[in-house]
């Protein structure tokens, strides 16, 4: 029963061939076996949302899936947001609006909001609040997270940014050093 199974996870466009026990959660496999520690694990039972990743484009709690169940699916984690040295517009908006303090919840919120805005780039304020209520943040009081995400939505609508993630990011979102 403690046997491991060989699986391949497709994460941010890269294949990770790993061996896992069936009981290993997707979050643990991403962190431990794929070495992608950007996905955080808080509660491990579905309440906090720190572990949110995109599964075929939809935000899911990666602690509430077993890694064996994610074979053949396209996974995206926070490591995949910045591209070619450019932060994603959403990441830059989090910095600009002070949408994080300790940062523990941030990768989960970024993936939640990325999935939400890709699905519905013109989402209204009430629905945006409802979706963002999925995850917990112990620091910010949420208002600045709401502002950062609403700002990105408005920029998408105005056409000043093209994608939620880092692809074709605008020059202003260069990673500052």
């Amino acid at each position: 029963m403690n046997d491991t199974l060989p699986i391949t996870l497709q994460v941010n466009g890269h294949a990770h061939a790993i061996r896992v026990e069936p009981r290993k959660t997707l979050s643990d496999a991403l962190r431990i076996d794929c070495g992608l520690t950007g996905t955080n694990v808080g509660c491990e039972h579905g309440v906090c949302g720190a572990c949110t990743v995109l599964l075929d484009g939809a935000p899911v709690r990666s602690c509430l899936m077993f890694a064996v169940q994610a074979q053949g699916r396209a996974l995206r984690t926070v490591e995949g947001l910045a591209q070619g040295g450019n932060l994603a517009p959403l990441q830059q908006a989090f910095i600009d609006h002070h949408a994080l303090q300790c940062g523990f919840c941030t990768s989960g919120f970024l993936m939640l909001a990325t999935g939400m805005l890709e699905r519905n780039p013109t989402i209204d304020d009430a629905s945006l609040r409802e979706v963002l209520a999925s995850n917990l943040c112990r620091c910010t009081g949420y208002q600045n997270i709401l502002r950062a995400v609403a700002h990105t939505r408005d920029a998408l609508r105005a056409g000043t940014v093209k994608n939620v993630d880092g692809a074709q990011a605008t020059a202003t979102s260069q990673v500052s050093r």
């Binding site: 029963m1 403690n2 199974l5 026990e21 069936p22 009981r23 959660t25 643990d28 491990e44 039972h45 579905g46 949302g49 949110t52 599964l55 939809a58 935000p59 899911v60 709690r61 602690c63 509430l64 899936m65 077993f66 064996v68 169940q69 939640l112 939400m116 409802e130 979706v131 209520a133 999925s134 995850n135």
Partner: protein
Amino acid sequence: MKAGAFSWHPAHTLDEAVTLLAEYAPHDGRVIAGGQSLIPSMALRVAFPAHRVDINGVDELARVIVDGDDLVIGACVRHAAFHVPVEPGPLGRLLTQVVHDIAHDPIRQRGTFCGSLANADPASEWCLVAATLGARMVARSIRGARTIEAADWFQGIMSTALAEDELLAEVRLPRLAGDARAGFYEFSRRAGDYALAMALVAYRDDHGTLRDVRIGTGGVEVQPRRIAQAEAMLEGRALSEEAIAKAAAAVSAAVDPLEDVHTDATYRRSLIGTAVRRAFAQAAA
């Protein structure tokens, strides 16, 4: 915490799923659907099954279809499928309203309608819908298929009429009449939490006279149910605030409320009356 060890048996067809269940159910084998109730309870070590029959790869169960007077919801249909109406009538609209009170968006992307019915949490929104509208549950095993009425399905807190080797293959929800009105109201302390009390009502307004009145309660008792005496007070009567207030009071009197550290029986009894009144107000709006 981490889940205990188990063997994983992915099924690709309905036949394969029931065959695997027949083989492993006697050895502590159970279904895994969306995993959104099961994996938390495995992580908390409340559940530690030896075998898991995974139905997520069974495409034939991922369909929601209209079949005559029924809406047929397969075992792999996720909560998120109801974010848009799956049926053009009042039922489709009702389900789209109700789904937003179930957990949070990412949990709705994985959790299934049938999984909620199999889990039978007293505060499950889909269980309330099934009990109030008279759903029929279709159970499949290698022994064949059988249909279980909602009134027989629920057997107390998190327990149902489903046998260990049976798969809940689909739920058949009767469609509401085109002129039916339905209303739903739930109270919970934080968005996404399980309800402390919720009510679902449906009726037809026949030139000011109420017909086919249904009043269901959830989250209040060990299982959701219709409150016949309150329905009878409104059936064939004119719709009025006083009549609804009396029926709501009858609901409060009829229930045997659950209690927990935050919520005593007196509070839940009062809350369900309010929920019934607000569900009617919502139906009329």
